[in-house]
Amino acid sequence: MTHRFAHGAMATQFVFLVEHDDARNAGQLCREAFHQIDRLETELSRFDSSTDIASISQLKPRDLMVLTLDAFECLKMAQFVAADTNGAFDVTIGSVFAAWRNPDGTPRTPSLDELAAARERTGWQLLMMDEESHFVGVRKTGVQVDLGAIGKGYALDCAAAIFEEWGITRALLSAESTVLALDPPEGKEGWTVNADAPMLLCQRAASSSGIAVQGQHIFDPRTGQPVRDRTQVWTLAPTAAWADALSTAFFVMSATEIEEYCRQHVEVSSIIIDSQKRYFNLKSNLGEKT
């Protein structure tokens, strides 16, 4: 039997499908996983001035701040993807986001000066981290970190670890546009996930980004400009945090750049769906399929 459990957190809906004989036990497991996700929401939030992530914006060069383990791990993953994509993914983009929004959240267009000032304080290389001490430091004052494009994926990975702990592993964990498939339902090869066309996932994460997702803006950290009208991109990776981050990176990268990235990382692949609903699988070089 497959059971469905849902929980609102991190401004989204987490939906877990669990195949397990004992519905009550599956529910208890999900309750504990959701409990940890609520904790992560607090630890990774940038909205509450008392969190580590919000406090980074107050740091001056030479200040050192200890991060909680989860804030550190999530930020480390973000920095890794940033370095690896030459800054196409970048969680220091908070100032750019802020420049494109009014205080009440409605969109606005910043002046060139405003944008330049925001870009001054953007760039993954402005953050420094040390694993031994779990310190973070900045090269400039006023770096605003926003983990919105990786936090949900990170939370799914943490949930997966709890599923492993409980020994219940036939499950599909999802948060908005990121899904993490653990073991498949009995007798199946994977969980069917609908990416315009269905795909089968097992022990793998998939994340999509694109204009289809709630009209939400994605900015190119390399230019500070919003990216409009691209095709939809699906990213497949071994962990949800990685897939989540890469789906944003791939949305701003060119097809050639994506292809190159996938070539360099055996464990990552990407599927681009264009406006005619043709898809290009950049991993297996399947080329165009109709």
Binding site: Q28, R39, S49, D130, E132, V136, G137, A237, T239
Partner: protein
């Protein structure tokens, strides 16, 4: 037609991408490692944590930001929590010994200076008293104890030993609360005579806690430490033996704030509550109370409710006076000070002094214009209050300032923000609420109830 999912490493083969990220971080020379290593050592306070559940972990995270704190031991009756705590601390370079029994820990760990107690409420008193007797300073979570007798023992033991005892009502060290109380209310008297306070803590419906079967404690161990079963250990706050229910768990914070802000202990209480929703609990899932106070300015009353089946508006307190009112919370968004235009002098001068900050309210400005044009009698009878805010933000984890105050007291003799007597008076006030629910009538506090 299916999308073909290309092969590649699976999640299990590649359990954490974190490993790749770590390898990358180790390779990238950021220069921070050196700076971190050079961070000045300060005189250390050797600390043990007792009770490594949710709150124990929150306190650990806050302590890791206080350079003088060195964890030496973790004590929890549950190996799962014990392991979690010691592994977590190990990652931050704190090597800790682990114990199940706090008595054994106190006997063996000779070098400890202080204990942080985040056990279920019923163990606060025995753990704290034993630690004080062993010559340790103690930071003990609120509610001080689930019984008045237990709390009294703590005060007496503190006095006898002369060691420090800080009770974990962390708002008493929160810079926003300190500013609101010391500057806005006491110094500038901006609210005028405060006649009423209200507050709430609303938590969304939650199912009971459980754990993976393989981590359940065996019956013998549970019995040894006084728990009937695993369900009660994990959900202790709902059972009469171990805690006082939501009014003690959540209400304790805000009822303590009323006492502080009104500068008076409650003199009477009425309350209503019940087990109206949950089927597996002993304690009331909701309680609504009214307290009466004799403040130096006159009588004041407070209304407070704790609900655990709705998250509506979260948790906040409100103070209402003749000249103004204030909404405040540990949640940053509740931060408003309203000037009653009809009764209060201008606050411009206080704005200039930085005591309060004006919030530009466009809606009110529009209403003003409209009023000028149309002469709205209702608006004229009761002008909308003018909105200001408390210009102080908490930019640290909520418990950090309170822990800092505790460690400052140990190292430099700073006065504690919530010493034993203060925690005791709060416990007396809070615990009476449950009595009032049973009594179904107004209960009075005798002044000597607050004295030891």
């Amino acid at each position: 037609m299916n999308i073909e999912v290309p092969n590649g490493m699976t999640r299990r083969q590649f359990i954490t991408a974190g490993a790749a990220a770590s390898a990358w971080l180790a390779m990238s020379k950021t220069g921070l490692a050196q700076a971190a290593a050079a961070a000045p050592p300060s005189d250390q306070v050797n600390v043990a944590l007792v009770g490594c559940g949710d709150q124990g972990r929150v306190l650990v995270n806050a302590c890791l930001k206080i350079p003088c704190v060195k964890f030496r031991a973790v004590c929890d009756i549950w190996p799962y929590a014990q392991r979690y705590g010691s592994r977590y601390l190990g990652k931050y370079g704190h090597e800790t010994n682990v114990y199940a029994d706090y008595r054994e820990m106190l006997e063996k760990e000779k070098g400890l200076d202080a204990i942080i107690c985040a056990s279920p409420d019923w163990m606060h008193s025995p753990i704290t008293c034993a630690a004080l007797e062993a010559g340790k300073h103690v930071y003990c979570e609120k509610l001080m104890s689930n019984t008045v007798e237990g709390a009294k023992q703590m005060v007496l033991t503190q006095r006898k030993t002369g060691k420090l005892l800080q009770i974990g009502h962390q708002r008493r060290s929160n810079p926003r609360y300190l500013h609101a109380k010391n500057k806005i209310i006491d110094e500038a008297h901006l609210l005028g005579r405060i006649t009423h306070a209200s507050g709430q803590w609303h938590n969304v419906k939650k199912d009971d806690r459980t754990c993976a079967a393989k981590y359940e404690l065996d019956e013998a161990t549970l019995k040894k430490f006084g728990y009937d079963d695993m369900h009660q250990l994990l959900n202790w706050r709902w059972f009469k033996k171990y805690g006082g229910g939501p009014i003690c768990d959540l209400g304790a914070h805000q009822i303590d704030m009323f006492t502080w802000f009104l500068n008076a202990n409650p003199k009477a209480v009425i309350a209503s509550g019940g087990i109206d929703y949950y089927k597996t609990h002993e304690w009331y899932d909701n309680v609504i109370t009214v307290f009466e106070y004799d403040t130096k300015d006159g009588v004041a009353r407070s209304m407070y409710d704790v609900l655990t089946t709705t998250g509506s508006l979260g948790f906040l307190e409100k103070y209402m006076g003749i000249e103004g009112s204030m909404v405040i919370s540990e949640m940053p968004r509740w931060n408003q000070v309203f000037r009653e235009k009809a009764t209060a002098p201008e606050w411009t001068v206080w704005g200039e002094k930085g005591l309060v900050k004006r919030v530009e309210d466009t809606a009110a400005a529009n209403a003003e214009e409209k009023k000028a044009a149309e002469v709205d009698v209702r608006l004229a009878a009761s002008p909308p209050p003018e909105t200001w805010e408390i210009p102080v933000l908490l930019d640290k984890p909520p418990h950090q300032p309170h822990l800092e105050n505790f460690f400052e007291a140990i190292r430099k003799g700073a006065p504690l923000n919530c010493p034993a007597e203060v925690g005791y008076r709060s416990a007396v006030a809070v615990l009476k609420v449950n009595e009032a629910v049973v009594a179904q009538k107004r209960l009075e506090f005798k002044p000597e109830e607050y004295r030891i």
